[in-house]
Symmetry: C2
Subunit: 383 residues, 2 copies
C-alpha cells in the first residue's frame, strides 16, 4: 500500500516535471516572464525596507506591492493597459470619493452614513452596469473595477478619518509607483509585444492552411497514385487536422491580442497607427477558409469515395489546384511575416484559378469545382 502510493507520487512528479519542461520549451519567454515578475515584486518591496520611504508612505506602501502583483502581465500591451487603467481609475475614483465624502459631511452627523451608503450604492451599481458595454469592457473593464474600489475606500474610510485628502494622496502615489515599476520592468527586460504575437499568429494561421492544401491533393489521390500511407503520414494528417481546429478556434486569441496591441506604442517594424484591425479581418477570412478545409478533410474520410477511374480523370487539375492554392497561401503568409507586398503569390493564384477553369471545362456539376472555388475565394480576397 505504501509502496504503491510511493509509485504513484513518483509518476505524478515525473509527469509534472515533463509538463513543466514542455511548457518552458514551447515558449521560453514564460520563464523570463516569471523571473521578471519576481524581480519587479522584490524591487517594490524595497519601499518597505528603507526607512525614509516607509515613513512617508506608511502602511499604504503595501498598495505598491499589490499593484505590481496585479498589473504585471505577459505582454507589454496588457501591462500598459492595466497600469494606465489602474492609475487613471485611482485618480478619478479618489477625487470622486473625496467629493462624495465632502458633500455628505455637509448633511450633518446623523444623515451622513445614509448619504454615504446611498452614493456607494449608486456608484457601484451604475459602474457595474457600464462594464456590460462591449467596447468599454474591451478596454476599460479593469479601470472601472478599480474606480469602484477606490471610490468606496476613500468615501467610506473618510467617515472614520478626517485626513481623507492625505489618504487619497498616498494611495494615488503608491499605486503610481507600483504601476510604473511593473511597466518599466516589463518594458526593459526582454519585452513581449502583443502586437508581434498577433502578427505571428495570423501569419502562422495562414501557413497552417497552406500546408493543409499542399498536402491535401496527395492525400486524396494517393489511392490513384499508388501510395500507401506510412504511419508518419497518418500522424501528420492527424496533426494537420488539429492545426486546422486551432485556426478555427483562434478568434478569441486574436481579439485579446488586438486589445493589448492597441495599448502598445511603436516598436520594431510596427509604426504608430499600424492597421491592427486588419488582422481581425484577415483572421476572419482565414477562419472561413479553415472551415472549408475542415469540411474537405471530413469529406476525405466520408463513405462516398469516387472510384479510381473517376479520380484519375480529375487527378491533374485537382492536384494543381490544391498545390497552387497551398503555395499561394504560403507566399501570403511569408509576405505578411516580412511585411512585403505579396507579389509572389499572384502567379500561384492565377495558376490555381486556371486549374479551376480547366476543371470547369471538364465537368459542369462536379463537387471539386464548387468546393475548391469557395476555398480560393478568400485567398483572392486576401491578395
Amino acid at each position: 500500500m505504501l509502496m504503491s502510493n510511493y509509485e504513484k507520487i513518483k509518476t505524478d512528479v515525473s509527469h509534472i516535471s515533463q509538463l513543466t519542461k514542455q511548457l518552458a520549451k514551447d515558449d521560453p519567454r514564460r520563464i523570463v516572464h516569471s523571473i521578471k515578475v519576481g524581480f519587479a515584486i522584490t524591487l517594490v518591496s524595497l519601499f518597505f525596507y528603507f526607512d525614509p520611504l516607509y515613513e512617508g508612505l506608511g502602511m499604504n506602501a503595501m498598495w505598491a506591492v499589490l499593484t505590481v502583483v496585479v498589473v504585471f502581465e505577459f505582454s507589454v500591451g496588457a501591462t500598459l493597459g492595466k497600469g494606465v487603467n489602474r492609475g487613471l481609475a485611482t485618480i478619478i475614483g479618489g477625487m470622486s470619493g473625496f467629493g462624495a465624502h465632502r458633500l455628505s459631511s455637509l448633511s450633518g452627523d446623523k444623515l451622513e452614513p445614509f448619504f454615504l451608503g446611498f452614493s456607494v450604492f449608486i456608484t457601484a451599481g451604475v459602474t457595474t452596469f457600464m462594464r456590460f458595454f462591449p467596447k468599454v469592457k474591451a478596454r476599460f473593464d479593469y479601470g472601472l473595477l478599480v474606480f469602484i474600489l477606490t471610490f468606496c475606500l476613500i468615501c467610506v474610510s473618510g467617515y472614520r478619518d478626517d485626513q481623507v485628502i492625505d489618504m487619497a494622496h498616498r494611495r494615488i502615489t503608491t499605486i503610481l509607483i507600483g504601476s510604473s515599476t511593473a511597466v518599466i520592468v516589463c518594458l526593459i527586460i526582454c519585452p513581449v509585444w502583443a502586437g508581434t504575437d498577433l502578427h505571428n499568429l495570423v501569419s502562422t494561421n495562414i501557413l497552417t492552411l497552406s500546408l493543409f492544401f499542399q498536402g491535401f491533393g496527395i492525400e486524396y489521390f494517393k489511392t490513384s497514385l499508388d501510395i500507401t500511407p506510412s504511419d508518419d503520414e497518418i500522424e501528420d494528417n492527424k496533426s494537420s487536422l488539429q492545426a486546422i481546429k486551432s485556426v478555427l478556434n483562434s478568434k478569441n486569441n486574436i481579439d485579446t491580442l488586438l486589445n493589448y496591441a492597441r495599448w502598445e506604442f511603436r516598436h520594431g517594424r510596427f509604426k504608430k497607427g499600424h492597421p491592427w484591425t486588419q488582422y481581425q479581418k484577415i483572421g476572419e477570412l482565414v477562419r472561413n477558409c479553415a472551415c472549408r478545409a475542415e469540411a474537405l478533410h471530413s469529406f476525405l474520410y466520408s463513405q462516398g469515395q469516387a472510384p479510381n477511374e473517376v479520380k484519375a480523370k480529375f487527378l491533374e487539375p485537382c492536384m494543381k489546384m490544391s498545390t497552387e492554392s497551398g503555395n499561394c497561401l504560403s507566399e501570403l503568409s511569408m509576405a505578411i511575416k516580412k511585411m512585403n507586398k505579396p507579389s509572389k503569390a499572384k502567379p500561384h493564384l492565377q495558376n490555381a484559378k486556371q486549374a479551376v477553369q480547366n476543371l470547369n471545362v471538364l465537368l459542369t456539376a462536379n463537387i471539386w469545382k464548387n468546393l475548391n472555388l469557395s476555398d480560393v475565394t478568400p485567398v483572392a480576397t486576401v491578395a
Copy 2:
C-alpha cells in the same frame, strides 16, 4: 460652432441611452446584477460604520470592501470560484508568509532583508510560472495571484511589524467576511447559474443549426420553385449566417461557462455530478456541423449554380433531406432543453438517411450526397 457641438453631444447621448436600453433588454439580469453589486458593497461598508467591528478589525476592514468588489461576478459559479480561490489562497499565503518571516528572522538582523527578498523572488517567480499550466489556469489562476499577494504582504510587512500573526489573522478574517458576503448576496437575490446558461447556450446553438437546415432547402431551390425572395427573407438569410458565425465562435464562451459551472453545487434540474464535460463535446460537434453549414451557405452564392432542369431532378430528396435534418436537430435541441430522451428525433433522422440513400441511387458522384452526408454524421453522433 457651439450649436454643432451641442447637436453632437445630443446625438451621442441618445446613442448611449439607446445602447443602454438594448443591453438591458437583451438580458434584464444585467440590471439585477448591478443592483446586487451595489447592495453587497453597501452591506460590507457597514463594517466601517459600526464602532465595535471597526475597533476589532481596524484598517484591515477595507479588505472586506475590496474583496466584495473583486469577487462579485455575474454567475454563481464564477463568484463561488473566485471566493473560494481568494479565501483559500489567503489562508495558505498567510501561513507561508508567516513561516518565511519566522525563518528569516532567525538569520539575524543583517541577513534578514536578503533572506526575505530572496524568498519573495523565488515564490513570486515559481507561482507565476505555475499560472501557465492550462489546467491550473482554468481553475486556480486567481488563487495563485492572491497567494503571491498575501505571501508578499505578510512576509514583507512583517519586517516592520512584529504582530505578524495578528495582521495575518485580521487579513484572513476580513477576506473571509468579504468573500462570504459576495457569495451569499449572489446566491440569495435572483441567482444566475452558469450551468443553466451553458445548458441553454448549447441547446440554442443546435436550434440555430436546425433553423438553418430547415430554411436551406427552400433557399436553394427557390428559383425552381418560382419563389422570388422578399426583403424580409434576404434579411432572415443574413441573420441566419450571422447566427451560424456566432455558433462557430462559441467555443470560448462554452469553455468559460463550463469552468464556472464546475464550481456550482446542485440547483434546479442539475443534480450533483451532472455531466458538464458532455456539453463541451456536443459543442464541438455542433461547431463542426456549423462549419459545414457555413460552407454550404457560401456555396449558395458561389458562381457555379446548376441549371434549373438539373435542380428540379434533385428537388424532392434534397428538400426532404434538408428539412428532415433540420427537424431532427430541432427535436434534439428541445430534448436537451427539457432533458428528455431524444426519441422524437429518431424518425426524422431515419427520414433524412432515407433521403440521402434516394439521392445515392439517383447519382453516383453528386455534390449534394457528399456534402449533406457529412452534415448528417454529427447529427447521428449526437443522437
